[in-house]
């Protein structure tokens, strides 16, 4: 498995030096993945977003990234210089963020932002390809959207433009950080269906970072549960409901359910021992 792994991460650490000492946001995360859908779940501050950023090389200063191994498709990222990282970023590893309003350039039309991926081509050819991408993410009336500025688009449309833009170069790995949390449920399922189509056929690896256990369980193949900078549990997505770690079980129980019994919701009791106890694995 490790021979053809798309991404191999071993003992990844992200730390920030602050006035009161070093704060470790990610504390020894290890996993390997192929061209599959991997979910990373956890609450705010669990280090899930920092893990995604570290893989891309986008940890903001003064953050420091250390890893025993950080390998993407056979390329050692720990040894790669910033030029090499930049060449990979966007082209082979892409990222979708939560809020399209902050991620799209407000003064450039959607069409030109997508076409930036096709710089080698003529303007007409790039436009043609951008139009094709918008059709692939099922934008109704792509001609209009091509000419539209981000503020002229709804949240769902803007997120589709974002996805089109990120997928235009045909990346091998897509890191989606809460790609649908800012969207309504009806738009959310449509955006997920698009990702499902584009990623689902083993052409691309997807890391879906989310706080939503139900979403990750229903969409991904495998799930990593992060707590306090570490992976406390990893399991098949279909087995998340029968998770074993008390933290994962606590999170699952704390969710209100439509068909639930009502009454008091079980409140998560955090055990200080979780911080350093070894993670648990479901059936591989």
């Amino acid at each position: 498995m490790s021979a053809q792994a798309l991404l191999a991460v071993e003992d990844l650490r992200v730390s920030f030096a602050t006035a009161t000492g070093v704060v470790e946001a990610v504390r020894g995360v290890s996993f390997t993945m192929g061209r599959e859908r991997l979910g990373i779940v956890g609450e705010s501050g669990s280090g899930k977003s920092m893990t995604g950023r570290a893989i891309l090389g986008l940890v903001p200063p003064p953050g420091r990234v250390d890893a025993r191994r950080l390998e993407f498709d056979g390329i050692d990222l720990t040894a790669a210089g910033s030029k090499r990282r930049r060449a990979l970023r966007g082209r082979r590893i892409a990222m979708i963020l939560q809020d399209p309003n902050y991620s799209l350039n407000p003064v450039i039309t959607a069409g030109r932002q997508i076409a930036e991926a096709y710089r080698g081509l003529s303007r007409a050819a790039a436009r043609e390809r951008a139009l094709g991408m918008l059709e692939a993410v099922r934008v109704p009336d792509p001609e209009r959207v091509l000419r539209a500025y981000p503020h002229e688009l709804s949240g769902g449309m803007a997120q589709r433009v974002m996805i089109a833009m990120m997928l235009a170069p045909g990346p091998d790995l897509l890191i989606a950080d809460e790609p649908t949390s800012a969207l309504d449920v009806s738009v959310r399922v449509q955006v997920l269906a698009i990702l499902d189509d584009l990623v689902g056929r083993g052409r691309m690896g997807l890391i879906l970072i989310s706080h939503d256990l139900g979403l990750v369980a229903s969409f991904c193949d495998r799930v990593l549960v992060m707590y306090d900078g570490r992976i406390v549990e990893s399991c098949r997505a279909s087995e998340l409901e029968s998770a074993r770690h008390p933290y994962t079980r606590g999170l699952l129980a704390a969710r209100p359910r439509i068909d639930g019994p009502g009454g008091e919701l079980p409140v998560l009791d955090r055990d200080p021992a979780w911080r350093d106890a070894p993670g648990v694995c479901g059936a591989p």
């Binding site: 399922v189 449509q190 229903s218 209100p256 359910r257 439509i258 919701l265």
Partner: protein
């Protein structure tokens, strides 16, 4: 306790709420669900008196309401907002934030009231002299709830009170709200996009879309998965997680 009849709200040419009717009995928790732009928060704003350009009838505790609301109204009805980061004054300490409504209403022993209100939301007296930025999201929402409680209202309007919070913190705040309602016989109108939160907290609910109430039902019908309207059924399916069929269902209508 609250009766709303053919409530309409327009912002310029946009009609945000169209002819909405519902009533809420004393001690009941009523849910308003819908997606962004469905008008659910606008309905709350009109009831609270934050939005003035509405037409129709709003009556609270048997009293028909006009454009302006008096102090007695606000003593009876308080509101908790979605974003605990935006709803608290960043340069005021908790003591001043929570005590402000009591000061406005000229109540005595403000300090003792603040301490009592904080105690009820599970925050000790040590929190009185902290600033909002020194608190976690869940603690801030507790402060916002304490501020709403200090006037000892009968009605709380809750606008997405937990959607900015983590699941485990959401559970704590929902438990707190449920306990307060049981102890004080409060009446709630809870606005949320999350059907599970509504199902957990409310007795009855109305589903809104494009400014209208599409369907009103008891929570048992929702639990049984038997809403009458196709739109509600699709929302229900979508809220259960990702499902190819649910995605196709929305595709055909939007």
């Amino acid at each position: 306790m609250i009766r709303v009849e053919s409530l309409s709200v327009s912002f310029g040419r946009v009609q945000a709420v169209r002819e909405v009717p519902f009533h809420v009995a004393p001690g009941e928790a009523f849910g308003l669900v819908g997606e962004s732009g469905s008008g659910k928060s606008t309905v709350l704003g009109a009831i609270a008196g934050l939005i003035q350009d509405w037409s129709g009838t709003i009556s609270v505790a048997g009293q028909p309401q006009g454009r302006r609301r008096d102090k007695a109204f606000h003593k009876r009805l308080q509101m908790v907002f979605q974003d605990p980061y935006g709803a608290l004054h960043p340069r005021h300490v908790v003591d001043r934030i929570v005590g402000e409504p009591a000061a406005i209403h000229g109540l005595d022993e403000v300090g003792a009231r603040v301490e009592k209100a904080l105690g009820e939301v599970g925050l000790g007296p040590a929190f009185r002299y902290r600033y909002p930025h020194q608190l976690s999201g869940g603690q801030r929402q507790r402060v916002a709830i304490a501020r709403a409680l200090i006037l000892e209202p009968e009605i709380l309007l809750l606008d997405e009170p937990t959607s900015a919070l983590d699941v485990s913190v959401q559970a704590e705040v929902l438990n707190l709200l449920a306990r307060l309602r049981a102890e004080r016989g409060l009446t709630y109108i809870l606005v949320s996009h999350d059907l599970a939160v509504i199902a957990h907290m409310c007795d009855r609910l109305a589903v809104m879309r494009d400014g209208r109430v599409v369907e009103e039902m008891g929570v048992e019908e929702l639990r049984a998965g038997a809403p009458r309207e196709a739109y509600t059924r699709r929302l229900l399916a979508a809220s259960r997680g990702y499902d190819r069929a649910a995605a196709e269902g929305f595709e055909s209508t939007t």
